[in-house]
């Protein structure tokens, strides 16, 4: 078998597009090629990356989470209020959130409900809770999170260190660990996992709980960067996280996901926004232009998929 396996080829597209964008940004604004520059460029990527990993864990079991944005917003509100004033209650609420995600997984599996419907409904629940907690923007980030997010490790900026760390941890859990194999197996062929004597309910609950954990981390790190929270702070995350997973080589169904790819995809999306500002494209056009970048990258992916499909049909 050659070095260039199907999986590695899949990762090549997101990595190349990230490199290309980074090169373009460096060319347009050489001052970004520094410790501070890189940190500023990728700072906001940390919560997006975590949310993307959370979405990836849901997509791994053939589901989709449309409540990611409101959930992260809600977690941000809890972090800026309870976690700051009463850390114990704050942590209890966050632990409850993770349990709620696990319960969602169980309900979706047992009642055979479409995850899109359930999570769409939940997005209103989370959104409502967030508004109840913080009707107007406010709150303050707990000092330790603030310290963590503004820390300056030697040589490499925090944002890069964090992204690599997230990628490594997620890769280990999903791709290398023994339980990760079963979780991906549920996405690939639920019946065969069941026939081998595994509990698919338990597997799905675990996948959802892990997703809840990463989404909670996303909300906490977001507040660490912004210092205060707002009930609508992370609404964009729902679509950004899905785009990040797909950009990074994941598929909507079939349990084909790549944690490293998802992190690279999230970084690419963050960088695309910066790239467009450096091009002095007016904010009115930026979202459209971001979409255009997405379409180009996905078209590349599609071309590669076709090649792969032709390779299989021997």
């Amino acid at each position: 078998m050659s070095f260039l396996t199907a999986e590695r080829l899949r990762l090549l597209v997101p990595v190349l597009s990230l490199a290309l964008l980074l090169g373009a940004v460096f060319y347009l604004q050489p001052r970004t090629m520094s410790y501070t520059g890189l940190n500023l460029l990728f700072n906001l990527a940390v919560p997006i990356t975590l949310a993307t990993i959370a979405q990836m864990l849901i997509m791994m079991v053939n589901d989709l989470d449309l409540s990611m944005g409101t959930f992260v917003s809600f977690v941000a509100c809890v972090t800026a209020t309870f976690l700051q004033s009463d850390p114990i209650i704050g942590f209890l609420i966050l632990a409850g959130c993770i349990a709620a995600y696990a319960a969602l997984g169980v309900i979706i599996h047992l009642r055979n409900l479409p995850s899109i419907v359930v999570t769409l409904g939940m997005s209103f629940v989370w959104g409502g809770l967030a508004v109840l907690l913080l009707p107007t923007p406010g709150g303050t980030a707990p000092d330790w999170i603030r310290w963590l997010m503004t820390s300056k490790p030697p040589l490499v900026p925090m944002a890069i260190v964090a992204s690599v760390l997230i990628a490594v941890v997620a890769h280990f859990v999903v791709m290398r660990s023994a339980i990760g194999v079963v979780l991906r197996g549920v996405g690939g062929n639920e019946r065969s996992v069941q026939r081998a004597g595994w509990s698919v309910v338990r597997a799905r609950a675990l996948a959802y709980a892990l997703a809840g954990l990463f989404a909670v981390l996303a909300g906490m790190t977001l507040v660490g960067l912004t210092t205060s929270a707002d009930a609508n702070i992370a609404l964009r995350y729902t679509l950004l996280s899905i785009a990040g997973v797909i950009l990074g080589g994941g598929e909507f169904v079939g349990g084909r996901v790549s944690p490293i790819g998802a992190v690279v995809g999230a970084l690419t999306l963050t960088l695309a926004a910066a790239f467009l500002s450096f091009l002095r494209i007016s904010p009115d056009w930026q979202i459209g232009a971001q979409g255009a970048i997405l379409i180009v990258v996905l078209a590349l992916r599609l071309a590669l998929n076709r090649r792969e499909a032709r390779g299989t049909r021997k």
């Binding site: 199907a6 197996g185 690939g188 062929n189 069941q194 026939r195 004597g197 349990g255 299989t312």
Partner: protein, 487 residues
């Protein structure tokens, strides 16, 4: 194990019964497997083989009867977990690996005990060693993702996974059509391994449509028909011919043996070449049967006939073909719509005036067809699901018959339909055919196939026989469906 004491059966099923709705899949089956024995299981479609396998592997519970493991009655708690705990494995006919995982990772799914640090190394060693043992020189990379392997390679991986052992000894392996995608030399390797496994005390149940394979590999052959075991003898007592005879039944002789029509000079309405020696043709007013074991290319033929006549983009107002789907829950019903709307779906272009549906005419068409095929309902506006399965299927028939299409393709539409409805539908088909309509009918039921004027028998994706008139007998169909190829 000492051979002196009489050995208990590894697994036995006593008096198993199982029904799915109106269909009785198993009608009291006794089946057992002794240690160190290879049992061949044969039977035509719907004989109950799959249901029996499902009960053995714990995937389904019998409605009545007992499941015994090593002579212990385990009926109450028998399920997938119990079956696996007793060293029972199954290679299913359809692929049951996770295509998104590697060979090694799939081995890990099967072996719960391979876990913790270094699991990957252990799982890889396990599966590679078994692959080398069963299929020497296989050339499969255990780190390759299943989706990138060919069908034959996937089947090899699946078989090796089933035979591989970690914490528990594998005692009984059920192989459901294991050689269907293996070439002759790989099939020989597998069967040789089966004999070796059996010689070392293991047990195997093998299901195959290649009778030569069964006769050369199995010690004992069990023949099933209509949910019962009709023969259970040593393999040495059977020949290919006597096996075929045992599978057949005394299907009621047809009321009048249909004379073979002479179609020379008549223009066929449909024509299609298959890869085999025999090409498909259908003439006006004919009922053409597609027979053979399930999944041997009949549905593909129907779909290709349909697609060849209709475009993907533009629907034609005067389509040449109409389609009656087999699995009505998946391909047929619009479950939220009324009976009326389900029925008139195909004729909507005829009922449309300036882009709007003429509801009065729609109701007339629906009423006409309700009366003709006797759909038992007071109100056509009731939801389709309020009807019994047989009546739902009638509505789907009406949907196809209401069109002006001269050809109707039917994909085993009578699955799970009660006998009374079947008789009614047969009569409708006959009368429509007499008016010049052509029917292409794939059926898994022998009785239905014998209703046809002409029958094509499929095996492994191609037409292997064409039977007409008095030749359309169960015996001829059976012997064409089962290959005699010796392993």
């Amino acid at each position: 194990m000492e051979a002196t004491a009489p050995l208990a059966d590894v697994l036995a099923v006593n008096g198993a019964e199982k029904s799915f709705g109106a269909v009785r899949a198993l009608a009291g089956v006794d089946f057992f497997v002794r240690p160190g024995e290879c049992v061949g299981l044969v039977g035509h479609n719907g004989a109950g083989k799959s249901t029996l396998v499902n009960i053995i592997t714990g995937g389904a519970r019998p409605d009545a009867g007992k499941v015994l493991v090593d002579g212990r009655d385990e009926t109450a708690s028998y399920g997938i977990a119990t079956a696996r705990a007793n060293g029972l494995r199954c290679v299913f006919q359809e692929l049951s690996l996770c295509p998104n995982l590697t060979v090694t990772e799939n081995a890990r799914i099967t072996h719960r005990s391979i876990s913790g640090f270094g699991w990957r190394v252990r799982a890889e060693a396990l599966i590679r060693q078994k692959l080398d043992e069963v299929f020497p020189g296989h050339g499969i990379d255990s780190r390759a993702m299943i989706a990138t392997l060919s069908i034959a390679e996937r089947q090899m991986v699946e078989i090796a996974t089933a035979f591989s052992e970690s914490d528990r000894k594998v005692r009984l392996v059920v192989l459901d059509e294991p050689t269907s995608s293996l070439d002759a030399s790989l099939a020989r390797q597998l069967l040789a391994y089966v004999r070796k496994f059996v010689a070392s005390g293991g047990s195997v149940v093998i299901i195959s449509h290649i009778l030569g394979e069964i006769l050369s590999t199995a010690d004992r052959v069990v023949v099933m028909k209509d949910g019962r075991v009709v023969a259970d003898r040593s393999a040495a007592d059977f020949t290919v011919d006597s096996l075929v005879a045992a599978m057949g039944s005394v299907v009621r002789a047809r009321d009048a043996a249909l004379a073979a029509h002479d179609y020379t000079g008549v223009r066929p309405v449909l024509k299609r070449s298959s890869q085999g020696a025999i090409d498909f043709v259908a003439y006006p007013g004919e009922i053409v049967g597609l027979a053979g074991l399930g999944g041997h290319g009949q549905t593909d033929m129907l779909v290709s006939l349909y697609l060849a006549e209709g475009g993907d983009w533009i629907s034609r107002k005067d389509g040449k073909v109409a389609f009656v789907a087999g699995d009505r829950h998946v391909d047929g019903n619009l479950p939220l719509w009324s009976i009326l709307k389900n029925l008139t779906l195909t004729v909507l272009p005829d009922l449309t005036r300036m882009g709007l549906v003429h509801t009065g005419e729609e109701a007339n068409v629906a009423k006409k067809w309700r009366d003709r095929i006797e759909v038992r309902t007071q109100n056509l506006d009731n939801p389709i699901l309020s009807l019994s399965g047989g009546n739902q299927q009638k509505v789907l028939f009406a949907r196809a018959l209401a069109t002006r299409a001269p050809v109707v393709l039917m994909d085993d539409p009578m699955r799970g339909v009660d006998i009374g409805t079947k008789q009614e539908v047969y009569a409708i088909l006959r009368s429509e055919a007499a008016k010049g309509r052509t029917f292409v009918w794939y059926s898994t039921e022998m009785e239905e196939v014998c209703q046809c004027d002409r029958v094509y028998v499929f095996r492994e994706g191609t037409i292997v026989a064409e039977l007409r008139g008095a030749d359309t007998t169960e015996e001829n169909i059976l012997s064409a469906s089962f290959s005699e190829r010796a392993a």
